[in-house]
């Protein structure tokens, strides 16, 4: 897949989808940077595990919503690894997907939206902003943003979360338009409900079953399923694809 020795930064990679993406890049020979906010142990365990399997990985703490911290992390990456080839914006503000305790439309506060906007779009903005100069310099780069298929099909209306993810898709497309000229592609991957992850743990069996019922492939996504399409966007196989959103949800959303 031509991902060997590529320097890949994955945000929010200490667990769930992010961790699966990190492992998959590592298995293709990439140099993986596992960014985390607070799960130091988990992130370091993943890096250690990758290294015992003969891969290359490092865990770096940074709050992606904080521009200073992101800049420091990027400086650290450039200083130690020389470049940045791929960034995967996977981090999100803490969110519990619980259909029973979610806020209804008439309970939503503007702050709720703001918090998701901060975590999803501001985080991606900071990362992209910091990576862009280096990608432009080498006339090559891959930016992959993780959105959600809830933006196309709100099975459960998680207003704040899905709105912020939709904004991230808008951000993706605009960035793609402007960065294409520099040989940088920007794409989005849109997972369906992914199980098992910590975020989806509170989505009860009945809701999971009803989603499975609507899904042509008759199961939920696994973190590895999502990782596969992220690697596709990072690889040369997708060299002429930009501004796209790929649904990885077993066919639940078709468009």
């Amino acid at each position: 897949m031509n991902l060997k020795d590529k320097v890949v930064l994955i945000t929010g990679a200490s667990r769930g989808i992010g961790a699966a993406i990190a492992r998959k890049f590592a298995s293709e020979g990439s140099f993986v940077i596992i960014n985390y906010l607070s799960n130091k142990h988990l992130a370091e365990d993943i890096a250690a595990d990758i290294e015992t399997r003969g891969g290359q990985a490092a865990a770096i703490q940074a709050d992606v919503t904080d521009f200073e911290q992101v800049n420091e992390m990027m400086a650290h990456i450039i200083e130690n690894f020389g470049t940045i080839d791929v960034v995967v914006n996977n981090a999100l503000s803490h969110y519990t997907f619980n259909p029973r305790t979610r806020k209804t439309a008439w309970e939503m506060e503007w702050d709720d939206y703001n918090q998701q906007w901060e975590g999803n779009v501001h985080g991606a903005y900071n990362i992209c902003r910091a990576a862009m100069p280096f990608m432009k310099e080498q006339m090559y780069g891959r930016i992959i943003n993780i959105v959600s298929n809830l933006i196309d099909f709100p099975v459960i209306p998680y207003h704040d979360y899905s709105t912020a993810k939709m904004a991230l898709l808008g951000f993706t497309r605009n960035l793609a338009k402007e960065l294409g000229a520099f040989g940088i592609t920007v794409n989005a991957v849109s997972p369906g409900l992914t199980y098992p992850t910590d975020s989806s743990a509170e989505t009860k069996d009945d809701v999971r079953e009803s989603i499975i019922h609507l899904t042509p492939m008759r199961r939920l996504a696994s973190p590895e399923d999502i990782a596969g399409s992220v690697l596709f966007f990072a690889s040369d196989l997708s060299a002429f694809i930009t501004g796209q959103c790929l649904h990885v949800d077993g066919g639940l959303v078709m468009k």
């Binding site: 199980y195 098992p196 008759r218």
Partner: protein, 485 residues
């Protein structure tokens, strides 16, 4: 950050002290020190007489309504997701049994719900015209008075295949006011102990009538005194276990046994229309996969009728794909070498038959033993080595296929049925006459409803003695009232 938690996998009245041996279980960041008892024959006698003493001093005279209330309070605790013992069970049972964590969490919760107060009342009302006859002599409609006496104590020999079912037996014993000695299986000793602990939190004296101990089945030194000291023996398990226990019980002592049973499913063409076929397959997969098919309620064969939108063979293929998805969602437990071998032999046997031009197709998980589907063009009946392996038999009509089960009468139990309503009673009559004792919907085969007739019998009535005072006695005795006119 490691936390060490001590867990007693047995329960006795508090004054009993047993030596213990420890087993360590590592689970994430926790270390569990499992404390197993070392029991002598002498200990067993002491425990048995103590639970009986505690029972006569307390439980024997407790009104049934109060017993129900107390069990309900313990059940309520378990229905709280944050209840410490439930959380402990959710963590430990998957490790001890190998069952998928999510499956255990879901099934234990569903199971405990069947013991809410309203369901306990249902149990009682199902079998007693007046549950109060467990408390006192009650008038009968035909005249006279009757009272039900439960056994002084019951020796329960539990099986370990399905977590939690032991609780059912314990509750039956409490409802008839009996002391209990429960022998748990080494493969799942935990849930009955934890439930008894919850009872103790509700009413310590009530829990003092219960002893739950794990030991290796067949240990005469313990089983003989346990049987001797009990009025009734209830045994669950394989045919072998049941026979061995029965041999030890002297003539005249009551034994209730729940041994080897086989269940199956029937899917009619009405459930195989384009709008229903996937759902039928999905639900059946659930029936086959829950607790890795270890319960006697789970199907081992399924009859699929021709004439639907998908053929029986396509049904088998889609069932195979669905079994694979289920395995991804809730992986099957890791098997012992012996169990894995028996699945390999099972596959080989039918692959060989297929090679010899028998109308058979074999579908299975290619990387491991996680699931196996054997498709038969001709109707028949067969058991499987369990652990998610199933026969699919094609048939022109379910009514005709039913004849295939007849030779297995003594082993038959549940039939999961998906047909049009006008065929329900025709099939039920037929299946009933062949020995089946329960019809359930598919998708719920593993969830028997409260108040059901377990293996076709009664639950509480089989445990009690009914004592009658004949109708003329009370009238006759009036004459001896010194104050009589």
């Amino acid at each position: 950050m490691s936390i060490t938690v001590e867990v007693k996998v047995y329960r006795t009245p508090i004054t009993i002290e047993l030596k213990e041996r420890e087993e360590i279980i590592e689970c994430g960041e926790s270390t569990f020190v499992m404390k197993y008892p070392i029991i002598s024959g002498e200990d067993m006698k002491n425990i048995a007489s103590l639970v009986k003493f505690n029972r006569s001093a307390y439980l024997a005279s407790m009104p049934i309504a109060q017993i129900v209330e107390k069990i309900d309070l313990a059940v309520q605790k378990w229905l709280n997701p944050d209840y410490a013992l439930r959380r402990l069970a959710e963590k430990l049972v998957p490790v001890v049994t190998g069952y998928d964590e999510e499956m255990v969490r879901l099934e234990v919760k569903r199971y405990i719900r069947t013991f809410r107060k309203k369901e306990l009342l249902r149990f009682l009302d199902e079998e007693f015209d007046q549950p109060a006859m467990l408390d006192e002599f009650r008038p009968r409609k035909t005249g006279g008075m009757s009272r039900a006496f439960g056994p002084e104590s019951i020796f329960h020999v539990f099986s370990g295949n399905v977590p939690g079912v032991q609780i059912w037996s314990l509750i039956m014993g409490l409802l008839v006011k009996s002391a209990a000695i429960g022998k748990t299986s080494m493969s799942e000793p935990l849930l009955p102990v934890l439930f008894a602990q919850s009872l103790a939190e509700v009413d310590e004296r009530l829990a003092e009538t219960i002893a739950i101990l794990p030991w290796k089945g067949g240990t005469n030194e313990l089983e003989e005194p346990a049987i001797e000291e009990s009025e009734v023996v209830i045994v669950y398990g394989s045919q072998d276990t049941v026979e061995k226990v029965k041999e030890k019980v002297p003539n005249g002592k009551r034994v209730l046994s729940y041994g080897h049973k086989i269940s199956f499913a029937m899917v009619g063409r009405e459930a195989l229309t384009p709008d229903h076929y996937y759902e039928s397959i999905h639900k059946l997969t659930e029936d086959i996969s829950v607790y890795d098919q270890q319960s006697c309620l789970t199907p081992q064969s399924v009859y699929v009728e021709e004439g639907g939108a998908i053929s029986p063979k396509q049904f088998a293929q889609m069932l195979a794909a669905e079994m694979e998805r289920y395995h991804k969602k809730k992986p099957r437990a890791k098997l012992s070498d012996e169990e894995a071998m028996s699945i390999q032999r099972f596959r080989n046997q039918y692959q060989l038959e297929a090679l010899n031009n028998r109308p058979i197709s074999v579908y299975f998980s290619s990387m491991d033993t996680s699931w196996t589907v054997i498709f038969h063009e001709e109707a028949g009946f067969a058991g499987t080595p369990l652990n998610r392996s199933i026969h699919v038999f094609s048939t022109e009509s379910l009514e005709d296929a039913a004849a295939a089960i007849k030779p297995y009468q003594q082993f038959l139990q549940s039939c999961g049925l998906a047909v049009s309503p006008n065929r329900l009673f025709i099939l039920a009559d037929l299946l009933g006459s062949y020995g089946v004792n329960r019809i359930s919907t598919i998708g719920e085969m593993n969830r028997a409803k409260p108040g059901w007739h377990h293996d076709g019998g009664f639950n509480l009535l089989d445990l009690v003695r009914i004592m009658d005072i004949e109708r003329n006695v009370e009238q006759e005795l009036e004459r001896f009232d010194p104050d009589v006119e």
